[in-house]
């Protein structure tokens, strides 16, 4: 059964992966980090990514509407720039939490569609075993 580090290391095996983190979007705390971070600073990246995740999760425009079951209102947030992709995957936990997996992949060798599917599977395995 994987722990947080094993989950992040698995994410790093995806093609083009540069860095990964597990972040709490209420506080902005990185609960685990691996690899590089944009600007070399995981702490700042976590706080900024948390801000983005929170905005997506809390604004009705981006959610499914039915948010009474305690599940994350958003599945993932995708950012692309000229050089790389950022993929934020909300983790659906059976206990109350507000965490997401953040994967940073290079655009040249990364595969966004594959990464999105795999990250979703990793997020599920992290908490379900």
């Amino acid at each position: 059964m994987p722990g947080i580090d094993e989950c992040l290391l698995e994410a790093m095996r995806l093609p083009g992966a540069r860095g990964a983190a597990l972040v709490d979007w209420t506080s902005g705390l990185a609960l685990g980090t691996v690899g590089e971070a944009p600007g070399g600073d995981h702490e700042t990246t976590a706080a900024e990514a948390a801000e983005l995740a929170r905005m997506a999760a809390e604004h009705g425009a981006f959610t499914t509407g039915d948010t009474t079951d305690g599940r994350p209102p958003v599945e993932d947030v995708i950012i692309s720039n000229r050089d790389s992709y950022h993929l934020l995957r909300f983790v659906d936990t059976s206990f109350d939490s507000s965490v997401f997996l953040h994967l940073w992949i290079g655009r040249e060798d990364g595969n966004l569609a594959l990464a999105r599917i795999r990250l979703g599977e990793m997020a599920a395995r992290l908490v379900l075993g």
Binding site: E48, F95, D96, L126
Partner: protein
């Protein structure tokens, strides 16, 4: 068209400020214990930190729901299973280890919940206190299998959390006293998570009590409460100040609070 004000950004440490002043800013005693890689239990006014070889392995606070509450409140783990493990264990980390070994909890879920609870209780344990902390050397705390956290990481995160709350709404009264609903000037949309908090505001419960009731981290609830207070949807119940007692003949001057605090810090640093 309505506009939503941009919320304050999550704080990040100012790396341009040169030397990191986090170390020892919250408790000089904790800093010293980290440096000597102490193993034992640091009891402070609002919570307890368990150290092993200078790292924080577990934290407890009466203000923060424990690992047991977080795991059982939403059915991740049956309450009976926790009680069985707790009855055989020497403490919360040990009970968690037993549950992990018995395969009753996925490692990732337990690790995540454990870190959530540790930073949550640690935040309160490191809150400003009016009495000095006490440390007891005790070889009972051990590293692993659950993750441990360097003291500096907990200190840094606690300071960052304080700053985050302050930026959301600068009045700390809402953190600890009973809350009551208020009529906002303009009705603002409330997210489902914050709606659940607001629904439990009844003029009696405090924010930590609401967190326990919801099986949520107390700090997360403080964030929601401060945001709701900023939106004008709730406010702390102000207890009427007690009528001033008849003035006794003045025999002592006011104690110098700053001096007492310096004295306490000096005693902790011994």
């Amino acid at each position: 068209m309505t506009r939503v004000g941009t919320p304050p950004p999550l704080p990040v440490r100012d790396r341009t400020a040169g030397q990191d002043r986090t170390a020892g800013a919250l408790s000089p005693m904790l800093r010293r214990l980290a440096e000597e890689q102490a193993t034992g239990v640091l009891v402070r006014e609002h919570g307890t930190l368990y150290l092993a070889q200078g790292r924080v392995v577990h934290a407890e606070s009466p203000l923060a729901p424990g690992l047991d509450v977080l795991l059982t409140a939403h059915g991740t783990l049956a309450a009976a299973a926790w009680q069985r493990a707790a009855a055989q264990a020497t403490g919360t980390p040990d009970a968690a280890r037993l549950l992990l070994e018995a395969g009753l909890l996925p490692a990732g879920a337990l690790e995540l919940c454990h870190l959530d609870a540790l930073y949550d209780a640690g935040y309160f344990a490191l809150a400003p206190s009016s009495t000095p902390g006490r440390f007891r050397y005790d070889s009972g705390s051990r590293i692993g299998p659950l993750s441990s956290v360097p003291v500096i990481a907990l200190e840094r995160e606690t300071l960052r959390r304080r700053l985050l709350l302050h930026r959301l709404w600068p009045d700390p009264a809402a953190d600890s006293v009973p809350l009551i609903r208020a009529d906002p000037v303009a009705a603002a949309p409330v997210t489902p998570r914050r709606r659940a908090v607001l629904d439990r505001v009844d003029g009696v419960r405090t924010a930590p009590e609401i967190a326990r009731n919801l099986g949520r981290q107390a700090f997360h609830t403080l964030v929601d409460v401060r945001r709701l207070a900023a939106a004008g949807l709730l406010r702390p119940v102000r207890t009427a100040p007690a009528p001033p007692p008849p003035t006794p003949p003045l025999t002592v001057t006011d104690p110098d609070i700053a001096l007492l605090k310096r004295l306490r810090d000096a005693l902790e640093a011994l």
